[in-house]
């Protein structure tokens, strides 16, 4: 009983999500956060955009898009796949930290993956962007590769 599933959220909803890439064969789940969305009442456009992102993120693997209480749905999904490990990519949202804590309390092992950094930064940021930029400009302007492979020109909208 040590299978793994991937939990996808709206801050990294892509087939290149680091948790997905680290677990190429693992089932993955994305949950529309029912209590949050019922209160927020976002436009349909936003939710449908997420749905389209989620569809592509889970394509080619066992995947599930759900509506409900996030922690309950992730727990149920892990149980369906006899998984005790949930892999997820980090988010700075306070709600994310809360859900991770609840999943851990429920006895699941949570493995957090990090996004590729744009710049390396430790500690509190300055109060103003200009001060931040002065400190990171050199790093920010230094490429770490050539970027993703792009579609051929004829495929461009």
């Amino acid at each position: 009983m040590n299978g793994a599933v991937v939990w996808l959220h709206g801050d990294s909803l892509t087939p290149t999500d680091p948790a997905l890439l680290a677990n190429p064969a693992a089932p993955a789940v994305f949950v529309f956060d029912e209590p949050f969305l019922a209160a927020a009442q976002l436009s349909f456009k936003r939710l449908f955009f997420l749905y389209e992102c989620a569809l592509e993120a889970i394509a080619g693997r066992e995947g599930s898009i759900r509506r409900g209480v996030v922690v309950d749905e992730v727990r149920a999904f892990a149980a369906e796949h006899q998984a005790t490990e949930v892999h997820v990519t980090a988010s700075v949202a306070p709600r994310f930290r809360q859900y991770v804590a609840e999943l851990r309390n429920a006895g699941l092992q949570i493995v957090i993956h990090e996004l590729p950094p744009f710049v390396l930064w430790r500690g509190a940021p300055p109060r103003r962007f200009s001060a931040f930029w002065r400190q990171v400009a050199d790093q920010a302007l230094r490429p770490t590769g050539s970027g993703p492979e792009l579609p051929a020109e004829q495929d461009v909208e």
Partner: protein, 271 residues
């Protein structure tokens, strides 16, 4: 509840999701013309030509912007990927430097959010100056894009129809709501968050606070001349208030006095 993932056409998916997510959204069940997903994100990245960006990014008519924000916000494209792609294709130029500088704004907002959490939804600093207009709730004509000001209404209509608004137009609308109408920034931020495909708690709330001067050293204001210059004159050409009654048709000095009761130098913290 599990949602279907087997529908192939966008029309079928829209009709299905409209029902499956009933109760979780407000307004009409129409999708944005902007498609979600990694494939659409890469097509947009491929189509974006950064040359001229430094000159055209603020122009709401020329639209020198990348329109990648919905994808970046949801992690469909990582900031580092976008940076690498642009620098490797276009080299190091004033345009690519400006573009990377704009990417860094998002990194900055995320760091502030990581540090402060939900405190970003409250004033982070005292406002440096507050508009003298009486406080009021978000008026219905903003929600219906019928303020009678073409630059504001057309920007809002684009937001409601597509889930996108040009950054410079966001600044105009945010300043208009806060400084001219006296609406609390949280109400404006909430309106934007409900509609923007790139709606992010940090970028959104902190940008509204930047305009309001609770996270910057001065309130952001604009005038008609700025709108004309950065919209190729098009908004004003179509505006019923062009001949008289435009609330933005004034010098910055007079607007500082009218809205805040201080000189422009005081407003900008130079005195």
């Amino acid at each position: 509840m599990q949602l279907r993932t087997d529908l192939t056409t966008r029309a079928e998916q829209v009709a299905y999701v409209a029902g499956a997510l009933a109760g979780l959204y407000s307004g009409p069940a129409t999708p944005s013309p902007i498609r979600g997903g990694r494939r659409a994100a890469l097509r947009r990245l491929r189509a974006f030509d950064v040359r001229g960006y430094a000159r055209t990014r603020n122009d709401v008519a020329k639209r020198g912007v990348s329109a990648l924000s919905p994808y970046i916000r949801h992690g469909v494209l990582a900031l580092s990927e976008v940076r690498d792609s642009i620098l490797s294709r276009f080299g190091y130029t004033p345009d690519t430097e400006k573009f990377v500088n704009e990417l860094a704004w998002r990194a900055f907002w995320q760091l502030v959010y990581a540090q402060l959490g939900d405190r970003i939804h409250h004033d982070l600093e005292p406002a440096k100056h507050r508009s003298r207009v009486p406080r009021r709730r978000l008026p219905p004509e903003v929600e219906t894009a019928t303020t009678g000001l073409t630059c504001i209404d057309e920007s809002l209509r684009e937001l409601y129809a597509t889930g996108y608004m040009h950054n410079h137009a966001r600044m105009w609308v945010a300043a208009y709501l806060q400084h001219w109408l006296g609406v609390d920034w949280r109400e404006g931020a909430d309106l934007f968050y409900r509609h923007l495909l790139d709606g992010d708690p940090a970028s959104n709330s902190l940008s509204w606070q930047w305009v309001g001067s609770t996270f910057s050293h001065k309130p952001y204001i604009f005038n008609r001349q700025n709108v004309e210059r950065f919209s190729n004159g098009e908004f004003c050409m179509r505006c019923p208030l062009a001949a008289g009654g435009c609330p933005f048709d004034d010098s910055y000095e007079n607007l500082a006095q009218r809205l805040f009761g201080v000189s422009l130098a005081e407003l900008e913290g130079r005195r």
